[in-house]
């Protein structure tokens, strides 16, 4: 028997082991996110009242939107103020598909994602035809038009008085009418959103987006079609915003022109900046902090804007690159603390 034939099975075995090691890594990452879902689910009984459950739901719904903004702003570096408008498109689409066309929730939810992606991609196509500085103006145009449509097309949207009676989310006959039931539904969706965003970040596509934000000439000279990746970021971010809008509609079950104001778009941008541009975990953390803090300081009336401003300034002084930048600073100190206790 020639020597190379005897070696061949060994090489095959090595190659198989090599491949399966990655399969194990891949399964491990799925296991981590499953664990995250289970842990979040098991927190539900710890919420003392419906109010806290509602707050948790709002955190998760806004976290999905903020993850989308992180793709647009944090990965690709596009400054847009159409985020709230894209959410509104997802919200009204999802609500109306269920109310008018009697689509099941799952189909309406997917419809909202697709529509959000499409509209956002069109804004991206228009915006990348002109200089980057004017991109913002194109997104402002979308924000303005969506608002006008909501206010004026009262036959469809309920106009200024709003859209009442949005049906609750349901899945195969199970209706998420209460906040607790909605929480069970939104946790896996948010975990999936985080998983996909993290995967995107370490993919060739995500890397190309981040590269073009950090250094456009060097990205171009690496063969990256900068315009195409900007449009792709808008489309993917748009799908997240559409998803968030749909969930918001079936959580609050009322939609009005004020639900998706310009200040929501700014708030979402702020969440990404506070979390640390490009960091998904930082973004989710900052959504949780900002939503809860906002809810706490609403007792002080309009003065909450003031506290908000102070918070942002403190943030920019302490950690100008966002919450995510604190982690590597804190980690060795925490490790040292734990080590000392042992």
């Amino acid at each position: 028997m020639p020597a190379n034939l005897r070696i061949a099975p060994k090489v095959r075995r090595l190659a198989d082991a090599y491949d399966s090691s990655f399969r194990v890594q891949g399964l491990a990452s799925i296991a981590r996110y499953t664990l995250l879902i289970v842990v979040l689910w098991s927190l539900l009984p710890l919420f003392p009242a419906q109010y806290q459950t509602r707050l948790a739901n709002l955190v998760l719904v806004q976290a999905i939107a903020a993850l989308g903004v992180n793709i647009i702003l944090g990965y690709a570096g596009l400054i847009s103020i159409a985020h709230a408008a894209t959410m509104a498109i997802g919200a009204y689409a999802s609500a109306l598909l269920m109310m008018r066309l009697e689509w099941p929730f799952a189909a309406a939810f997917v419809g909202a994602c697709v529509l959000g992606a499409l509209v956002s991609a069109v804004v991206g196509i228009l915006g990348t035809r002109i200089q980057t500085n004017y991109f913002l103006l194109v997104t402002l145009a979308l924000a303005g038009s969506v608002r006008l449509i909501i206010v004026n097309e009262s036959g469809l949207t309920g106009g200024p008085t709003g859209l009442f009676g949005v049906p609750p989310a349901e899945l195969f006959g199970w209706v998420a009418e209460s906040d607790s039931a909605f929480y069970m539904l939104v946790v896996p969706i948010a975990a999936l959103a985080l998983y996909l965003a993290q995967r995107l970040r370490v993919s060739r596509t995500g890397r190309a987006m981040i590269a073009l934000r950090l250094n456009e000439p060097a990205a171009l000279m690496s063969g990256i079609d900068v315009k195409r990746y900007r449009i792709a970021a808008m489309a993917l971010g748009g799908a997240y915003l559409g998803a968030s809008g749909s969930l918001f509609a079936h959580l609050v079950r009322f939609l009005g022109p004020e639900s998706f104001s310009l200040s929501l778009a700014l708030l979402l941008t702020l969440m990404v900046v506070v979390g640390g541009i490009g960091s998904n975990a930082g973004t989710v953390l900052s959504v949780a902090v900002l939503v809860v803090v906002t809810a706490q300081i609403q007792d002080v009336g309009n003065a909450w804007v003031f506290y908000y401003g102070v918070l942002i300034m403190a943030m920019l002084v302490v950690a100008p690159r966002g919450l995510a930048s604190i982690v590597p600073l804190v980690r060795p100190r925490l490790a040292a603390l734990v080590g000392r206790r042992r």
Binding site: Y18, D19, F22, R23, V24, Q25, G26, L27, S29, I30, L196, R199, L200, V202, S203, R204, T205, G206, R207, A208, I210, A211, L214, N215, P217, A218, A219, L220, M221, S222, G223, I224, D225, V226, G278
Partner: protein
């Protein structure tokens, strides 16, 4: 396959009233290391910008491997086999060194968006590109810093990283804008070896350089620009002896003031 990999025909670039490149024609044979020298403001960087698509031509054509590229956007020129580094350190500061080079692998990386979401497949493809990236880092001596952020590197190291990223695109033609600026003598030695190795892998090199010993030793041919025009072109020794070049750029040691 044409004999000349790069050919510029009557290329002119104008910035308002300034004629940055004035009717420049030149050819670079396949496999050559070509230096472009000249005083500051003579149009050297503009020449690289014209070839790589960062400035628009007022007149003329640029051919890469016989194919007109002067109307293509920059990223399409890269697909046609062009790469370049930049005059100032041009890295992706918030990415680690491995990822910086992996951006350079963008064109050849088979990773699709769908692959990224398939557990296991993503890890295996990533491991492959990481290994290739590591080879490119080793070539410039930065493999020991592979996991550091590009921001944290010294200036000279950032320039070497930019070189590694450009080399990773597997170019037919690489343009280097003052590759030795900011490098110490050890790094310059290593870079000289890296450029020769690239050439041995069938990459044609065009570089702008002020470091004359480096140019004289490394380059096959030297082209001299002054006021946007080619004033001389030839073997290093010939160019060094050319009176017009001496007068405009090189100067003479101990010449009368």
């Amino acid at each position: 396959m044409t004999e000349h990999l790069l050919e510029l025909r009557n290329v002119s670039v104008r910035f308002g009233g300034l004629q940055a490149l004035d009717d420049v024609s030149l050819t670079v044979p396949r496999g050559e290391i070509r230096a472009v020298i000249g005083p500051n403001g003579s149009g050297k960087t503009t020449l690289l910008n014209a070839i790589s698509g960062f400035v628009r031509l007022a007149r003329g054509e640029i051919l890469l491997d016989g194919r007109a590229i002067h109307r293509l956007p920059s990223h399409r020129r890269v697909q046609a086999g062009l790469a370049r580094t930049f005059q100032s350190a041009s890295v992706f500061g918030e990415l680690d060194l491995i990822d910086n080079v992996r951006v350079g692998l963008h064109r050849t990386d088979p990773h699709s968006l769908i692959d990224a979401f398939i557990p296991g497949r993503n890890e295996r493809l990533s491991a492959e590109t990481r290994r290739t990236a590591m080879d490119h880092l080793r070539a410039v001596g930065l493999d020991t810093h592979a996991a550091s952020l590009a921001d944290s590197l010294a200036y000279g190291q950032q320039r070497l990283l930019d070189f590694a990223r450009a080399a990773a695109t597997k170019p037919a033609l690489i343009l280097l804008d003052e590759p030795t600026a900011g490098l110490n003598s050890t790094e310059i030695e290593r870079l000289r070896g890296d450029i020769r190795r690239l050439r041995d892998l069938n990459t044609t090199v065009v570089l702008i350089e002020h470091h004359m010993p480096f140019v004289m030793d490394l380059c096959d041919t030297v082209t001299v620009l002054n006021f946007g025009r080619v004033i001389a072109s030839g073997r290093p020794a010939e160019v060094r002896a050319d009176p017009a070049v001496v007068a405009s750029y090189l100067g003479t040691r101990g010449a009368k003031p």
